[in-house]
């Protein structure tokens, strides 16, 4: 998001926060969120796709709601109203093709109305078929929904598949397929949207999903402050804030404003400045000395933190204007004395998501199988979970390596902690010694994490290795 976009969002959120306290809270938030996800979607070189992708985001969300909602909730009047509102807003956006709006709300000219109606009809029929089930969706259907979301995720995050998809769309729409590129399809917010939807599917399967009306569900998934940058809230937490206002409007504006200013400063002053001197594939080949290489690496480590946590602050601040408290995503991660604590305070909502929906079930499955020793079980589960977290950023070897780096680190730290605990159980350490050990832990953890960023930022693992050699004077 640009600073102008954020300013516009703030100017929208402040009066909207006041208005939604008085009137039509869910419906207003829904309408504005739909308009904003279309507005935020970047223009794409693939004709009409920048209109269809936000439409798909909404369509998939509605279908997943129909899949996960209980039969009683599916037939509530308010859900039907939300469905009509959603259709009307998308239809209105599609009609701007014929108005002289100069793409004010959409990145490019919307597709012909017939094409939009056709896509909407598919979603309406799909939702209708799911909603008319008399009982909750079967496990098979829920897994099918899960699979569709994961397949879409894999296509978007795998350059080779994204290229094929781009070619396919170009051929379908009548554009030159030879111009296709793997970066053609930029689906704003899909990584977060998919994880929110999968969370509700898995919670439905485990019977933990609360009853949520369509309007609330849609607002949760496409809530504009957190749509493109997270955090990945849990639905039961989100709707609690949506249904019940916890603080006065002026307090929300103050708290939100403070958070927004901090976020803007982090992102546009600190992170963007650090970006000028941060490690990237070009500077990695240009650094002439180990000292210079460390400067690049540390700059990147702080840049990615301030960039991401700045955006999170902005999202939290904007949401607060609307009376909704989003969860924290960062809690001073570089001040943690071991890797486990680091991962408890870095991109917290993503880590929690993986813990809840992959790590814990995976460990339970390994335990049941009784084929691995306790140590091996920890190693395998850490490596697989962290590799998946790596792959969430993109299906590339560099991200797998980054995940494995952290998986190994977490395993070693786990073993070390266990070993040290038994050895130091009886030892009485002075406060000073504890402080020194803590500082050493912080330095070690930070440097381990920083070295991990080499794999993350350099797309070619051999370049990453060369850079690591340079850091230690070996290149």
């Amino acid at each position: 998001m640009t600073i102008t976009q954020i300013a516009i969002l703030a100017f929208v959120a402040i009066p909207l926060g006041w208005l939604t306290r008085k009137w039509q809270r869910v419906n207003l938030l829904l309408i504005i969120s739909i308009l904003i996800i279309f507005w935020l979607q970047p223009a794409l070189p693939l004709r009409y796709l920048d209109f269809f992708l936000p439409t798909l985001s909404i369509g998939l969300t509605v279908l997943t709601w129909a899949l996960t909602a209980s039969p009683e909730v599916r037939h509530q009047k308010e859900s039907k109203t939300s469905a009509v509102i959603t259709l009307c807003v998308i239809f209105f956006l599609a009609t701007t093709r014929y108005l002289n709006f100069d793409n004010f709300l959409t990145p490019t000219r919307p597709p012909p109305i017939g094409q939009v109606l056709f896509l909407l009809a598919i979603f309406v029929v799909g939702t209708f078929l799911l909603a008319r089930q008399k009982s909750s969706s079967s496990n098979t259907l829920l897994w099918a929904g899960f699979t569709v979301l994961v397949i879409l995720f894999i296509i978007l995050k795998t350059p080779a598949l994204a290229l094929i998809a781009s070619r396919g769309w170009r051929l379908f729409i009548g554009q030159n397929a030879s111009l296709a590129s793997s970066s053609d399809i930029y689906w704003l917010g899909y990584s977060y949207l998919a994880f929110r939807l999968i969370h509700t599917i898995r919670d439905r399967q485990s019977g933990r999903l609360p009853d949520v009306a369509l309007g609330e569900y849609l607002t949760y998934v496409i809530f504009f402050p957190s749509f493109s940058v997270g955090p990945i809230d849990r639905v039961e937490r989100f709707i609690k804030g949506l249904r019940q206002l916890e603080s006065a409007y002026s307090d929300d504006i103050l708290v939100g404003g403070q958070r927004l200013v901090v976020g803007l400063f982090k992102k546009f002053v600190i992170a963007d400045s650090l970006a000028m001197i941060a490690l990237n594939p070009l500077s990695a080949t240009q650094a002439q000395s180990p000292l210079g290489a460390w400067v690049l690496l540390y700059a990147y480590a702080f840049q990615i933190f301030f960039d991401f946590s700045g955006y999170t602050d902005i999202a939290i601040g904007l949401a607060q204007f609307l009376g909704i408290s989003l969860p924290e995503n960062f809690k001073q991660p570089y001040r943690k004395s071991n890797l486990t604590l680091f991962w408890n305070s870095w991109h917290i909502t993503l880590t929690q998501w993986f813990r809840a929906y992959f790590f814990n079930p995976f460990v339970r499955a390994l335990r049941k199988s009784r084929k691995l020793s306790a140590g091996m079980m920890i190693l395998v589960s850490q490596l697989v979970t962290m590799s998946l977290i790596g792959l969430w950023h993109g299906v590339m070897w560099s991200f797998v390596l980054w995940g494995l780096w952290h998986g190994i680190g977490l395993f070693v730290q786990n073993r070390w902690s266990g070993w040290a605990k038994t050895r130091l159980a009886g030892a009485s350490l002075s406060t000073r010694t504890r402080r020194i050990l803590s500082l050493l832990g912080i330095a070690l953890t930070f440097n381990y994490v920083a070295l991990g960023w080499v794999w993350f930022v350099l797309p070619n693992p051999s370049q990453g290795w060369q850079f690591i050699l340079l850091l230690f004077g070996g290149a």
Binding site: S250, L254, A287, G292, A293
Partner: protein, 370 residues
């Protein structure tokens, strides 16, 4: 919240405080603080003045604050020792070294020759700056005098002389105060009311008005870190578009037709001012090499910049004026073969610079032994 805060009162206070801070900025001198620099402190100074159109790749940027620019240059932090004979070269992009690494530029090559005279090592500093204008050169020259040169070399070409080129270069346009001072001190008769010169308003002196120059200063410092780490200060593309050698049948030069150049439209008064600025310190004028094309219509034009009639007259005028005024003047217009020009009729390859450096080194040695 533990203490109730009045939102409107808070917003009002914020606004008032910001307004006070914003306007308090107007009390500071316009260029205050810009000479504070990480260059020559935390990192080595740059070997040429900052200039760049692709900052994220070249780790360099164009700014208009001469103090900040000089503060980033290595000359600022190199105290002149008794064993140093200091030479400063000024001029346009051909001196600055477009497409060349610092060591390949004219100054870089002169330093590689390890010249010395009477037990003094000859150190050459590159204070060239891209864009062609004698007024811009004068701004740099005046500032360069602070660094105790023993000899100044001013590389010139006809394109920098026309009156219409004097104020349009961004470095000049954004430094009206300095230009005014030069104009008054050396009676330059510049059109100070020209639209090309950007007259700062009151608002331009506030914090908000100065945000661009403050941001440029900050970026210059940050890119300095990258300069220190990588030694890169410019893009060095493997492929570039070579200078044109085929031309239309066009004899015009800045709208002037043959047969005569308008002497009153050529800024020789800038050259005179240059000698007044340098005073006792010797200043050598060099007519820099140009590309002599042999393509289509090269009987009419030497290159993209110059029709033959205009350039020939310019050389003859320059030579006559040098004799009249007793200027030290060297004409090296044709010493570099056409194959050693790069993307412009005045930009030389490394080998071309070596040829020029050899000629200029002889000139320096003669001057230094006087």
């Amino acid at each position: 919240m533990s203490q109730k805060i009045n939102l409107w009162r808070l917003l009002l206070k914020t606004f008032i405080l910001f307004a006070i801070f914003n306007f308090a900025f107007t009390l500071l001198p316009f260029d205050s603080g810009s000479s504070i620099s990480i260059y020559n402190n935390l990192i080595f100074g740059r070997e040429r003045l900052p200039f760049g159109e692709s900052p994220t790749q070249s780790y360099n940027l164009s700014l208009f604050d001469l103090d900040a620019m000089f503060a980033s240059h290595i000359v600022t932090d190199t105290p002149k020792s008794e064993n140093e004979y200091r030479v400063i070269v000024i001029g346009d992009s051909s001196v600055w070294g477009t497409l060349l690494r610092p060591e390949e530029t004219l100054s870089g090559q002169l330093n590689r020759l390890n010249l010395s005279v009477r037990d003094k090592k000859i150190s050459v500093y590159n204070l060239g700056y891209p864009t062609i204008s004698l007024t811009k050169d004068l701004l740099v020259l005046e500032k360069a005098m602070q660094y105790e040169p023993d000899l100044l070399i001013w590389m010139l070409t006809l394109e920098s002389f026309p009156a219409d080129k004097q104020l349009t270069t961004p470095l000049v346009a954004h430094n009206i105060e300095r230009v005014q001072k030069l104009d008054t001190a050396y009676d330059l008769h510049l059109d100070l009311n020209s639209d090309a010169l950007l007259q700062p308003s009151f608002w331009d002196t506030t914090l908000i008005g100065r945000r661009r120059s403050l941001a440029d200063w900050a970026r210059l410092q940050l890119y300095g870190v990258m300069w220190g780490i990588t030694g890169v200060d410019q893009l060095y593309p493997e492929n570039y578009e070579s200078a044109k050698t085929d031309f239309e049948k066009d004899e015009l030069f800045h709208g002037w037709s043959p047969p005569e150049l308008f002497l009153d439209q050529l800024a020789f008064d800038m050259v005179k001012a240059g000698f007044r600025i340098t005073g006792e310190v010797p200043l050598i004028l060099v007519n820099e090499p140009i590309l002599i094309s042999d393509g289509k219509n090269s009987d009419i034009r030497y290159n993209y910049f110059y029709p033959r009639w205009a350039y020939d007259q310019y050389r003859s005028i320059f030579s006559e004026m040098s004799l009249e005024n007793d200027w030290a003047y060297h004409d090296y217009w044709d010493i570099v073969p056409a194959g050693e020009f790069t993307n412009s009729a005045i930009h030389l390859s490394s080998a071309g610079e070596a040829i020029l450096a050899k000629a200029i080194s002889e000139m320096i040695l003669i001057e230094a032994t006087r």
